[in-house]
């Protein structure tokens, strides 16, 4: 287990290194940053001054190491647009996005795993059809449309929930449902497929031959084996929801990092974009790492050599 953990850790660090190179490279792929900062009307001297000020005139590798070193200390520079430290800017907004992402993945898991299990246990039954309907709808419905639909019904027709803002947990109910529902189909389908396969396995027949109760056969013997790929998928989905909740954050006016990323891209605010890219990639890497560990715990074939 220790060796496995160390191996995964090394891989995670290598991925992190690669990501940092890419996010650094972005700054230069999108044109000359000095010209962007200086503005369209600036003359050559002003641009040169900015180059010197931000260190753009130094060799690339020097700039990269300087950036990484500062990033490791939590300093991502100053936002071109807000004129405040990027770190502060992000950490002000991160709780909103993290909270939303965690709530949404919890919602998705609570909805999709029991439904997936029941659908596999009773194929072609009413519950299977219900699960299928829910997942097809989830796949077909764009988030923005579903969000507007919820706002229309629950904020205007029946004013139960606030349509926008992020002040209290009540504000998060609709965004959580929209974002969580988005992740539901994939998790449910994978759970169902996995369970169907596992329920046909010889060791399930053995478990039944021992006279174990149906509940024990289903949850102890089948689900644990079927859930292994679902863990990896859920981790990826969570990472995706953290980075990709821009639409949902925009509609519900939740000022999270997704919204910030979108704003910053529009404003060519490169230090902010770089920092968000790097931080979310790191969160992604951590999630994948945790999923790997969870899988190793679930599956002794990974854990015990």
């Amino acid at each position: 287990m220790l060796i496995y953990t160390l191996k995964r850790l090394v891989v995670a660090l290598l991925v992190a290194l690669t990501i940092s190179l890419i996010s650094f490279g972005l700054l230069f792929l999108s044109g000359d940053p000095a010209t962007t900062i200086a503005g369209e009307s600036a003359d050559e001297a002003a641009i040169m001054a900015i180059r010197a000020q931000y260190g753009f005139d130094r060799p690339l590798y020097e700039q990269y190491f300087a950036w990484v070193l500062r990033a490791m200390q939590g300093d991502f520079g100053t936002s071109f647009y807000f004129n405040m430290p990027v770190t502060e800017l992000i950490f002000e907004r991160l709780p909103v996005t993290l909270g939303l992402g965690l709530a949404a993945i919890t919602f998705a898991i609570i909805l999709s795993i029991p439904l997936g299990v029941l659908a596999a246990r009773y194929p072609n039954s009413l519950i299977d059809r219900l699960a299928l309907t829910i997942s097809v709808m989830g796949q077909a419905m764009p988030s923005f449309w579903f969000a507007l639909l919820l706002i229309m019904v629950f904020s205007f027709m029946y004013p139960l929930l606030p349509p926008s803002g992020s002040e209290t947990w009540v504000h998060f109910i609709m965004p959580t449902i929209v974002l969580g529902y988005y992740a539901t189909p994939a998790i449910m389908r994978l759970t169902r497929t996995g369970m169907m396969e596992v329920l046909g396995a010889d060791y399930i027949r053995t478990a039944r031959a021992k006279g174990l109760r149906p509940r024990v056969v289903l949850f102890k013997h089948a689900l644990r084996n079927a859930i292994i790929p679902v863990v990896s998928l859920a981790a990826v989905q969570l990472g995706f929801m953290l980075g990709g909740s821009i639409v949902v954050e925009t509609i519900f006016a939740l000022h999270g990092t997704g919204y910030l990323a979108w704003e910053s891209i529009r404003r060519y605010d490169l230090p902010t974009v770089q920092a968000i890219l790097l931080i979310f990639s790191l969160i992604y890497i951590v999630l994948t790492f945790l999923a790997d560990l969870l899988n190793a715990w679930l599956d002794p074939r990974i854990r015990v050599a």
Partner: protein, 333 residues
């Protein structure tokens, strides 16, 4: 004393688009305590479905019917799901053909052994653990206590089958159903496992149904034999009766297929039964073996052949006269 297991006219049907597949076509047999009944037959003759149907473990689509299905006086045809699961693994246990895949990869050997006992009997975790260690030693696994913490993927096929046997014995069952328990193992291990099963069976006085297609195994371990073909028992009797005087042409054919050291000459072709088994979908007209039998005559194709009992427990399903069958049997022996 009544038999431990009494089966009369057991049928298993699987509904298919093209009509019902009659996998088991009305078989009757019984097993006494301390006795081994071998059910022999080639792949697809319904022997595995027979054992699964006794356990109530048929696939959901399959339908089981029987005139009589008594286990120690309990009518299994009337038993509820809950009642069946109380018997399964407790008084009636099964050993499967596939040791490599029959253990759950996610749990330790110990966990999987103990849960059978904890499910059926009021014992503490410690007692269950002790029983598991005791049985692992019984089935010849060294370092039993340390094995409990191991996972199936750390064990070889032979060890896993030993674990499966120990698992079947956890609750001290009265009847063991072993469905080709040695087929997936290599030959040296096969012999060990068989020896072990017979020893344990004698020691615990269990009834055993051993399903196999290996006549060598039958000769060594069976008390009585039932030969199955196309979902029916075509011949039954004690092991000596069947091996000394195989009356049914199918049994004779099977025995001809076994090479005998010293008798079968080098380079001589091995015996075989030409043709293939008839489709089990719908009714079979006449004798099911007629299309492969070397003695077939006109009546075989049209007349349903009953199982003629010559003495209690000894019978076969053939239209030839006893005299004729006996002469054919001599030819094999």
């Amino acid at each position: 004393m009544a038999a431990l297991l009494e089966v009369e006219n057991l049928r298993v049907d699987i509904p298919l688009g093209a009509g019902d597949l009659h996998a088991v076509r009305g078989i009757s047999f019984h097993v006494d305590r301390g006795e081994t009944l071998c059910i022999v037959g080639e792949s697809g003759c319904g022997k595995s479905l027979t054992s699964l149907s006794l356990m109530g473990l048929l696939p959901p689509k399959a339908v089981r019917q029987a005139d009589k299905l008594f286990f120690d006086g309990i009518d299994l045809t009337q038993a509820s799901q809950g009642k069946m699961s109380d018997i399964r693994g407790n008084r009636m246990a099964m050993i499967f053909q596939e040791p490599m895949t029959s253990l759950n990869p996610a749990y330790t050997i110990g966990n999987q052994l103990e849960e059978a006992l904890l499910r059926h009997q009021k014992v503490s975790g410690k007692e269950a653990r002790e029983r598991a260690i005791h049985l692992l030693e019984k089935v010849g696994i060294t370092g039993a206590a340390s094995r409990l913490g191991q996972y199936p993927h750390q064990l070889s096929g032979g060890l896993r089958q030993r674990v499966m046997i120990a698992m079947a014995l956890m609750c001290g069952p009265e009847l063991i159903l072993a469905d080709e328990p040695t087929t997936a193992l290599d030959v040296t291990i096969q012999a060990q496992i068989l020896h072990l099963m017979i020893e344990l069976q004698k020691e615990f006085g269990m009834g055993m149904i051993l399903i196999t297609h290996d006549l060598g195994i039958v000769a060594r371990v069976a008390d009585r034999v039932a030969v199955m073909y196309a979902g029916q028992i075509v011949e039954s009797g004690t092991v000596n009766e069947v091996f000394d005087n195989p009356m049914h042409p199918y049994t004779q054919g099977l025995l001809r297929c076994i090479p005998v050291p010293g008798k079968t000459r080098r380079g001589e072709p091995l015996g075989s039964i030409p043709g293939i088994v008839p489709s089990l979908i719908g009714k079979i007209e006449g004798c099911a073996f007629a299309n492969r039998c070397r003695y077939t005559f006109q009546d075989c194709l049209t007349t349903d052949v009953p199982l003629a009992e010559t003495s209690p427990g000894r019978g076969y399903r053939c239209l030839l006269s006893d005299q004729q069958c006996l002469e054919n049997a001599k030819e094999v022996a």
